[in-house]
């Protein structure tokens, strides 16, 4: 990845973050914290990694993505809108009673959403089913799913992990957004799941620990996933991220798990993101010249 490409991804991720703020502010509720920690990996997926076509959201040969941590719908919607699946201008209608942008992803109303999710622990199983279906068809479709580190408290996740390994789903990339916080506090205090790397190794995964807010590290991780095809091992990314990444007052603040910015907070967040956007544009211009 060239420096220019990295800068362009950063620019897109900044716009995805603006979308998260627009959507949650428009809704007056929702989940900005985990949406912001996941904005970079979603940007990488939709702008660099996945084989998708916004003009053909139902193409049977597309790669699939399941947002198992469905409450981070604002980030998924923002990435999809930015990628051209539907208008960015619709984002603030999130959670409104006449909007197709449901509070949690709905595959039947939102173009580009491959599975309805929201109840934690369930999306990862559906992703396993998609990966198994792709294997059964002999197709080269990849399936990606993003979980929260709080989400893996759900026993069903571990059922799915065993299944992925048992059926040798090396076309499946399970990504855990390890931002260290869940609703009631730090994950280590609420329900400690560490050492996650050793657990995933023991469950038979090709386990990759990386900074989930670094495009250089994400690129390496996705390369490792590509290399694992044919190994018979599913891949697991442990994405070390910062909850609220990109908005100063939301970073590492547990209260921003599930509340929307008010007008004043919205202005402050957008100001920061616009400044970041502007400086990235300048940097891109310099690198172009």
């Amino acid at each position: 990845m060239t420096k220019l490409e990295t800068l362009q991804l950063k620019l897109t991720a900044t716009r995805v973050r603006m979308g998260v703020i627009e959507a949650t502010h428009g809704a007056g509720c929702g989940h900005p914290g985990g949406s912001l920690s996941a904005a970079d990996v979603l940007t990488y997926l939709y702008f660099r990694e996945m084989r998708i076509d916004p003009e053909q959201p139902q193409d049977p040969n597309r790669d699939r993505f399941v947002l198992s941590k469905g409450h981070c719908a604002p980030a998924l919607y923002a990435a999809l809108a930015e990628r051209g699946f539907f208008p960015v201008a619709d984002l603030p209608t999130l959670r409104h009673s006449n909007s197709y942008l449901q509070g949690h992803p709905n595959m039947n109303t939102v173009p580009g959403v491959d599975m309805s999710t929201g109840s934690l622990g369930q999306g990862v199983s559906a992703a396993c089913g998609m990966a198994l279906g792709a294997k059964q068809q002999g197709s080269d479709i990849n399936v990606y799913t993003l979980l929260g580190d709080g989400e893996i408290d759900e026993g069903q996740c571990w059922e799915a992990f065993m299944f992925a390994n048992h059926y040798k789903l090396d076309n499946l990339c399970i990504m855990i957004d390890v931002n260290g916080l869940q609703i009631d506090g730090a994950t280590r205090d609420v329900m400690n799941s560490e050492p996650l790397d050793r657990k995933m190794d023991a469950f038979g995964f090709n386990t990759i620990v990386c900074n989930g807010n670094s495009f250089a590290e994400l690129e390496q991780a996705f390369k490792m996933f590509d290399l694992s095809h044919g190994s018979g091992k599913p891949t697991c990314f442990l994405l070390r991220t910062i909850k609220g990444q990109g908005v100063s007052y939301m970073q590492n603040a547990v209260e921003w798990h599930g509340k929307a910015p008010n007008d004043e907070e919205y202005e402050k967040a957008m100001e920061e993101l616009r400044a970041a956007h502007e400086s990235l544009e300048k940097e891109i211009e310099l690198n172009n010249g």
């Binding site: 049977p60 699939r64 399941v66 709905n106 595959m107 039947n108 491959d114 599975m115 309805s116 999710t117 929201g118 109840s119 622990g121 369930q122 999306g123 990862v124 199983s125 559906a126 992703a127 396993c128 089913g129 998609m130 990966a131 198994l132 279906g133 792709a134 059964q136 068809q137 026993g155 069903q156 059922e159 799915a160 065993m162 299944f163 048992h166 059926y167």
Partner: protein
């Protein structure tokens, strides 16, 4: 009544999966949760091992996997005991199959008290109630081998979520495979009668038929209506029965709360109020014992149905007619 051939509907299920695959249902896949020998999906596994996936004892994941597989163009049948399918994995069925309205068939065997010896922990009398409350869920509860086979084929051909309720206990085969026609959402009038209607489902339909014979000896004509589809419910056949028979008994191997009886009452209370007696499990847990004994203990037998018929049609004649039978 002459001795009829008996087959458990779970066996009909396993056999029909193979039949469908043989007839070219290439997109049919089967999931089980370490119960293939009991749910009879092993019949399918034997012939199509590469289309049968054991999920281990993990029903919640199995439901999600099937949902994902359905989005890839497959028609998954997932199997477990009713207790662990509808019960343990209720929320998975609700959110990952029901809400997105995915084309997954949930084939639950060992429903009701007739599980027998395993006892209350395995005797699921709540599954109809649970499945009825999921919008868009079709519920099929076949009464014998012929109907079960037809129900599996209909479920396969229907695009959307279906819950199929099968039994462990072999039951008499009373339908004629040559003439029987099954349609989702249609009830079936098995006997003509005008004194009272008995509406039953699953294993209870053959008991209702025997009850009608017992009642006939006492000059009471019973209309037996078999209800293989619990949802969507055949309202027309219920309203006609209410108009023509004026009194109704419902019989089900299920808690009377939330089951067929309440579904029938729901229709009648709004459209044509009439007397309904709900026979079933009276909000109790089951217990261990041979299936037929347990059913008898809970009043789910032809004799108990006939007694209820007599009590309702001839309230003034409280004589014990058993000596005449």
């Amino acid at each position: 009544m002459a001795e009829m051939k008996k087959i458990a509907t779970r066996v009909s299920y396993g056999n029909t999966l193979v039949e469908l695959a043989r007839q070219g249902a290439d997109n049919l896949v089967v999931f089980d949760a370490d119960l293939a020998a009991a749910t009879k999906t092993e019949i399918f596994r034997k012939e199509y091992p590469d289309r049968h996936f054991d999920c281990g004892i993990a029903e919640q994941n199995m439901i999600g996997v099937a949902a994902g597989m359905s989005t890839m163009g497959y028609v998954p049948f997932v199997s477990s005991f009713a207790m662990f399918a509808a019960g343990r994995a209720f929320e998975q069925i609700r959110n990952t199959i029901g809400y997105p309205h995915l084309n997954v068939k949930i084939a639950a065997t060992h429903a009701g008290l007739s599980v027998g010896e395993d006892g209350a922990s395995h005797q699921c009398c709540e599954d109809i109630a649970l499945m009825r409350t999921i919008p868009g869920m079709v519920i099929l509860s076949p009464a014998d081998d012929v109907e079960a086979r037809a129900a599996v084929i209909a479920a396969y051909n229907y695009n959307g979520p279906v819950y199929l309720r099968f039994s462990r206990l072999p039951s008499p085969v009373f339908h004629d495979p040559e003439t029987y026609e099954f349609q989702i959402g249609k009830g079936e009038k098995l006997t003509d009668g005008y004194d009272i209607a008995v509406i039953s489902t699953g294993l209870m339909t053959s008991e209702a038929l025997r009850a009608a014979v017992l009642a006939k000896r006492q000059g009471i004509s019973v209309r037996v209506i078999n209800m293989p589809t619990i949802k969507p419910l055949d309202e027309e056949i219920i309203l006609t029965a209410a108009r023509e028979c004026r009194r109704i008994i419902t019989v089900e191997e299920h808690n009377v709360l939330g089951g067929l009886g309440e579904a029938v009452c729901g229709v009648l209370s709004e459209k044509l109020p009439c007397y309904v007696r709900r026979l079933g499990v009276q909000d109790q847990f089951g217990h261990s014992g041979p299936a037929n004994e347990v059913l008898r203990d809970y009043g789910l037998s032809a004799e108990a149905i006939a007694a209820a018929v007599r009590e309702i049609v001839r309230p003034d004649h409280n004589t014990d007619d058993s000596a005449n039978q």
